[in-house]
């Protein structure tokens, strides 16, 4: 076990790296050099941070269209993500994937999908693979509340429960799918209840409380690694920006202002700072130096990305299959 102060520092640093990365995307996006649809996770940073801190490099995560935070938390370099957002040959997917398909198998990220619910069974497959190879690995499926309406979600839970697979289902319930609110889309039973229907230990929790996520994910992954099967965590949260792009959608009436403001007041980073003054781990000095280090890292990532080479159009057919 790591000392508590180290854990707090790591959680905070991960959230900050995600936060500042996304903010930089917002700042630079209007230049129209990142020609890829960006689904930002500002406001949702606690979930990837609280989950991925428990994962080793060999554990596998699968992500969605809203993938930046998951990949950063799992250990992907900011540079390779930034380069991918600029469509560069040097990006994590060599400019073939873009924002919605970030992948880095070396870091245990086989990939991300833009088809809602599509990567949930892939994570279950990675867990099946771990069980067959008996290698002690766990896998995590990150997905939104909308994905819990897809058949792939239910098919995945059924199979994972049946075979007691080492997989953690993490639902980031930001209460909206594009501009469609949860209550317009599913009965008010809660998403965790769906897991219970398959006999999967399932919990709803405050997804903006990184410590709550940290504890729940730690327990769940411990169970998974002990051969006790999957867990479903429904993490309640809120996205600060619109569904896609660098602006907020509250102005144009897509989501209610009062809810938006209420959730803005529950910033995951602020909450961690405020709740732990006595621990001393997040001292003013630490905060300042971390801020600086992260800022420099992001400067460097985006500067490199802007000046990296584009793919060669004559290579458009490369990577369709392993033959070419």
């Amino acid at each position: 076990m790591k000392p508590v102060s180290e854990i707090l520092i790591e959680l905070y640093r991960t959230m900050l790296r995600i936060r500042r990365f996304e903010e930089r995307v917002v700042a630079l996006y209007p230049e129209q050099q990142m020609k890829t649809p960006v689904h930002l996770c500002l406001g949702q940073e606690a979930i990837p941070a609280g989950v991925c801190i428990h994962l080793g490099r060999e554990d596998q995560i699968f992500s969605t269209h809203r993938s930046h935070g998951h990949c950063i938390a799992k250990g992907m370099s900011l540079k390779s993500i930034a380069m991918e957002l600029y469509g560069r040959e040097t990006g994590c997917c060599r400019g073939r994937g873009g924002s919605m398909h970030l992948a880095d198998p070396e870091q245990g990220i086989p990939g991300s999908t833009a088809i809602v619910g599509g990567s949930i069974p892939l994570a279950v497959g990675a867990a099946l693979s771990a069980k067959m190879q008996d290698n002690g690995r766990a896998s995590v499926a990150f997905f939104g509340d909308g994905a819990s309406e897809e058949g792939s979600f239910h098919e995945s839970l059924n199979f994972a429960a049946l075979h007691h697979l080492p997989v953690l289902f993490v639902c980031e319930n930001n209460q909206y799918a594009t501009s469609s609110r949860l209550a317009a889309r599913q009965p008010d039973t809660g998403i965790a209840a769906k897991g219970a229907g398959y006999g999967i230990p399932s919990r709803e929790l405050d997804g903006n409380d990184v410590l709550a996520v940290y504890r729940a994910a730690g327990e769940a992954l411990g169970r998974a690694r002990a051969g006790k099967g999957p867990t479903l965590l429904e993490c309640r949260t809120w996205r600060w920006m619109g569904h896609v792009g660098p602006t907020c959608d509250v102005e144009n009436g897509c989501r209610p202002r009062d809810m938006h403001e209420e959730w803005l007041s529950r910033c995951p980073l602020e909450q961690l700072r405020i709740r732990l003054p006595e621990s001393g781990a997040l001292s003013p000095d630490f905060l300042e130096s971390t801020e600086l280090a992260v800022c420099l890292e992001i400067d460097s990532a985006f500067n490199t990305a802007r000046h990296s080479p584009d793919p060669d159009p004559s290579q458009i057919l490369r990577y369709v299959d392993g033959r070419g």
Binding site: P121, G125, S152
Partner: protein, 346 residues
């Protein structure tokens, strides 16, 4: 599913495929598939089979019989009726070090898994810039006859052959059933093996040792000089019967088995048509936007000058498969249609 057994077994008038009197061990198409799976499981610990009822007493028309007993229920795994989800599960396992073979009794169940096959499996390597491959093989069987009707007799290969990133093969003979299946598993590419239920009892000399037929390589099954007859899967059988009959009337037909509809062996098609100057394409699927159109386009683009007559296409009727036996007869073209068509070209 005994009904297709009755029909398939009742139909065989020519049981042995390949050269007359060829020496060696003969195997049925069904047993050739089983042997391929058995050997793949035996040689490679990454290989596992998963499918609805693959461990039951029927054993997917006999093609998986005894394998669950031999390799256990983790490597020969029954699965829930969740075709799309389980295609994703198999794909996820493939991305992380395994070599799954997903088995469907019917091609008709593949549309349930369209999202995973088309959006995920086919594209994953490309989307990740070549970093993550999906060595997943999917077997599915085309049924026919005995009133199997619209949702139990489809031949949907053209649908999948449209998608870059997928390999689609259609073995027409026992030897290819083994070689192509092993070839797909070994290729590391996402592959669809579409088998035909009416070929299951065919016999051919099949090598006992493991061997690979690489996807994308067609085969001249019979040499000829007057016309090229191109087909896949069960159509090849009809074409061979037709060629035999045409020979008795002094017409020399070359029979080209595509074996693989993606990749397509364009060079073989072109060279054969350059030799014969005529072409008839027969497909187990529909004509509109089908493989026969693709083959015709290849010839138009690259060997148009060699054609001495317009190419012709023989496909199933442009409607869902009907149930009535009379309508079935009208739905499926056969050897006689090929013979008549060729005569019309000469």
């Amino acid at each position: 599913m005994p009904w297709t057994g009755i029909q398939a077994d009742g139909r065989r008038d020519c049981e042995v495929y390949g050269a007359d009197g060829e020496a060696g061990r003969q195997l049925t198409y069904r047993d050739a598939i089983r042997e391929a799976l058995d050997q793949a499981l035996g040689m490679d610990p990454r290989v596992f089979l998963i499918g609805e009822g693959i461990d039951d007493p029927g054993g997917v028309f006999g093609s998986t019989l005894g394998l669950a007993e031999k390799y256990g229920s983790l490597r020969v795994m029954d699965m829930p009726l969740a075709e799309n989800g389980l295609t994703g599960v198999a794909a996820g396992a493939a991305m992380t070090g395994m070599r799954p073979v997903l088995i469907h009794m019917r091609v008709d169940f593949l549309p349930m898994a369209m999202d995973q096959i088309v959006n995920h499996v086919a594209k994953w390597r490309y989307m990740t810039g070549g970093k993550v491959s999906v060595p997943l093989t999917i077997r599915a069987i085309t049924g026919r006859g005995w009133g199997s009707a619209a949702q139990h007799s489809q031949s949907l290969h053209a649908l999948f052959a449209h998608i870059p990133g997928l390999t689609v093969v259609m073995p027409a003979s026992p030897r290819d059933a083994k070689g192509l299946l092993m070839g797909c598993i070994a290729s590391g590419e996402p592959s669809l093996v579409i088998e035909h239920r009416w070929l299951y009892d065919l016999k051919e000399v099949v090598p006992e040792e493991p061997f690979l037929v690489p996807p994308g390589v067609g085969l001249i099954r019979r040499e000829g000089t007057d016309v090229t007859l191109v087909g896949v899967s069960h159509a090849v059988y009809d074409l061979l019967l037709a060629a035999e009959q045409l020979a008795t009337e002094g017409i020399s037909a070359e029979v080209l088995d595509l074996r693989s509809v993606r990749p397509l062996d364009e060079a073989l098609i072109i060279s054969s048509v350059r030799k014969t100057g005529r072409m008839v394409v027969m497909d187990t699927g529909w004509k509109r936007c089908g493989i026969s159109a693709e083959v015709a386009a290849v010839v138009s683009e690259s060997a148009h000058d060699a054609l001495r007559a317009p190419f012709r296409r023989i496909c199933i009727a442009e409607c869902p498969a009907p149930a009535s036996a009379v309508l079935e007869d009208a739905y499926y073209p056969g050897c006689a249609d090929v013979v008549a068509c060729v005569k019309g070209l000469l």
